[in-house]
Symmetry: C2
Subunit: 191 residues, 2 copies
């Protein structure tokens, strides 16, 4: 159930982690994602723990922010809506809604600062895509390859959020999904 790799997931350790994560989130929200307004002592104070705890557990403020970010950005679950297109929209649209906001972008940047965390996150995203494909397969639908879905939908959207600050509306997630899925049988795609 718990994805905690810590040796003692149920005790004080978990409480401290939760308090620290919550402290980071609230401080970031208060300062509109401006991480110059954050410091280890500040977070520690807000969380009611000692600074040394943060240094030992996370080593670094950027790494703490990355950990919080990746934790915050993984709530979406794959659900069976009855069609491949529906599943993809139900899964990815909420992501984009959250990431494309100014604060969501900041959170995304925080995560990207840590290469290892970012890679784990990518694996998790890919796992979601594969689960969606599996569901489609059980239904008898033919789904594009995972790498195709990533290249055609996920990558352009995330790239444009990161590099060009595009809004959720401008990103046309549903149109991208439709174009990808319609390439085999359908004719022109209407917006």
């Amino acid at each position: 159930m718990m994805t905690t790799a810590t040796p003692r997931p149920g005790g004080r350790s978990a409480r401290v982690q939760q308090a620290v994560h919550q402290a980071v989130r609230s401080l970031l929200a208060e300062n509109d994602g401006d991480r110059t307004a954050l410091s280890v002592p500040l977070v520690a104070d807000r969380a009611g723990v000692n600074s040394s705890t943060i240094y030992r557990r996370w080593g670094d403020l950027p790494r703490l922010l990355a950990a919080v970010a990746s934790n915050q950005m993984l709530p979406e679950q794959v659900e069976d809506t009855g069609s491949l297109r529906g599943d993809m929209e139900a899964w990815f649209v909420p992501y984009v809604e959250e990431f494309s906001s100014p604060l969501g972008r900041q959170v995304l940047r925080d995560m990207l600062a840590d290469g290892a965390v970012t890679r784990d996150y990518f694996q998790s995203m890919q796992g979601h895509v594969e689960e969606i494909r599996r569901l489609a397969g059980l239904r008898g639908e033919r789904a594009p390859a995972t790498s195709e879905i990533v290249d055609a939908v996920v990558a352009p959207v995330i790239y444009r959020i990161l590099f060009n600050h595009e809004s959720a509306a401008a990103l046309e997630v549903q149109g991208r999904i439709e174009r990808l899925l319609g390439e085999r049988s359908k004719g022109p795609a209407e917006t």
Copy 2:
């Protein structure tokens, strides 16, 4: 094309900037891109300037790193190789070679930490793509829309470098270019 917004580009100011940039680059190279090994006083000392100069000009170590990164990653120029496909390869392959290395990834991450710098960089990339399309137009070749090129080639490659640490070979840049240009059914409707 340097974005010289400084009022006095030819004098001491320029020398200081060059020295500081060079100091950052050499320190990053010596420590394999580990930015925990860097600090403002360290960079200042290496560059032979005072710490206060760095704080005033760049405000912050992350912002300095972002500035150095974006400056370091824009040397490629569009050249006319005689074909759209050749131009795109000549322009983008060297980029990928540099970005996909471990140190290149770090530099990319440093740039991404600064939203404004990253956006300017995106504009510059897009400008290169448009220049390539212009050359193709002069030749009478039909080129995909800029957004299509970005979505089909640039975004997936950069995304996979950032999130999955893929190597230049695994990214198959030439294959992506070829697949994009080989699609004749699509019409260049967007700008």
